[in-house]
Amino acid sequence: MDWMAWTWPTAIFFIVIASILVTFTILAIKFPEAPRVGILRIETTRGDRLFITLLGSAFINLAWLGVVGANQPFALVVCLVYAAAVFRWV
């Protein structure tokens, strides 16, 4: 962990993202799926929806930090709701 001053929180952050990517790759191989059109009127696959979720979550976290400025973990709850919405409707 001393190498390039790594910290546990950042390490966990990247491990989580890496495992999500691996999970979705396995899912894509095991259960291939056809793209569908959702409320954004664009064709999305599971991977696209994951990308929209991750990018949106980053902005949700920043917005929470900038607007609310306290209780950052609650932003993750908003992200989970957002993720569910994206996977259901987009």
């Binding site: 390039m4 001053a5 790594w6 910290t7 929180p9 950042t10 952050f13 990247f14 664009i42 064709e43 990308f51 990018l55 980053a58 902005f59 920043l62 930090l65 900038g66 400025g69 950052q72």
Partner: protein, 289 residues
């Protein structure tokens, strides 16, 4: 015919993956790592959590730079895209002059960024530069080191000079791919020049035009060298665009933590806008545009 499935082919892209890991992924991870720590040098780091992000979100400095950056990108896109299309429409379609125009227009694209900056830096000087001297002789007050408007005008004209040909070349390629039959049909229908442009040329150019807009947006949003050489971000902070501000923070003041937080937000904005462009582009393709 059944497709051959050979998953071993994935191993062939392994070298690229390793290269990208070392040139992009690991540096990006390092930036994330720096954004949550503080350092006083000597390779000693202290955990500060999301403090730098909060500080950056509350700082006028970043929002001002972002505003200037968006304005710069919007202005150059608003000039370069119509101008590039206009140039492409009026270029000779074939023969010697067509090739001549293509070569002449590619010349600015071949010049390195810092050379372009230096050319315009000298060109605009009131004492020895042709542009600055002429404007001054005409009685127009022009000084890009003191006057905000002059500084902005210089960097915008410089970018237009440097990059409009890219849009023109792409638009020209789009125009060349339209079969003659379309124009013949338009002639039979006695379509006006505007109708030909609106219903034949523009839809056929849309694909390459979106690529041109995406490329120009990305490049202008990340621009550093040219305005830095010409104005150095001045007068005051008037032309301090995002990347110039970022370099000042990271290398000038050695504030690694805030600069890392700043870069991540910068990166997220670029990622978001590029995704929007990419989605629009692929949607156009799917519709057979």
């Amino acid at each position: 015919m059944e497709k051959t499935v050979n998953q071993k082919a994935w191993f062939l892209i392994l070298p690229v993956l390793i290269l990208v890991a070392f040139s992009a992924v690991i540096p990006l991870m390092t930036v994330v790592n720096y954004s949550v720590q503080d350092t006083f040098g000597q390779n000693k780091f202290f955990w500060v959590g999301l403090e730098w992000f909060a500080e950056m979100l509350a700082s006028d400095r970043m929002w001002d730079a972002l505003g200037r950056q968006l304005m710069f990108s919007a202005i150059i896109l608003a000039i370069q895209v119509p101008l590039g299309v206009f140039v492409a429409l009026n270029m000779p379609k074939s023969g010697f002059w067509s090739s001549f125009c293509l070569v002449m227009m590619s010349l600015p694209l071949l010049i390195p960024w810092n050379v372009v900056g230096t050319i315009w830096q000298i060109f605009g000087r009131v004492d020895i530069g042709l542009l600055g001297y002429t404007l001054d002789a005409l009685g127009i007050s022009y000084n890009y080191t003191q006057n905000t408007f002059a500084a902005w005008a210089t960097i915008i004209v410089m970018d237009v000079w440097h990059w409009t040909s890219l849009v023109a070349l792409l638009a020209f390629a789009g125009l060349k791919s339209i079969p003659d039959a379309y124009y013949q049909a338009a002639k039979i229908d006695q379509a006006s020049r505007w109708a030909i442009f609106r219903y034949i040329e523009l839809p056929k150019m849309m694909g390459v035009l979106m690529i041109a807009i995406l490329l120009r947006f990305m490049d202008s949003f990340m621009i550093y060298t040219e305005p830095f050489v010409v104005t150095g971000g001045g007068p005051g902070n008037a032309t301090t665009l995002l990347s110039i501000d970022l370099v000042k923070m990271a290398l000038g003041q050695f504030d690694l933590g805030p600069a890392a937080a700043f870069s991540i937000m910068y990166y997220l904005v670029i990622l978001l806008i590029s995704w929007v462009f990419y989605t629009v582009m692929t949607n156009l393709d799917n519709k057979g545009g």
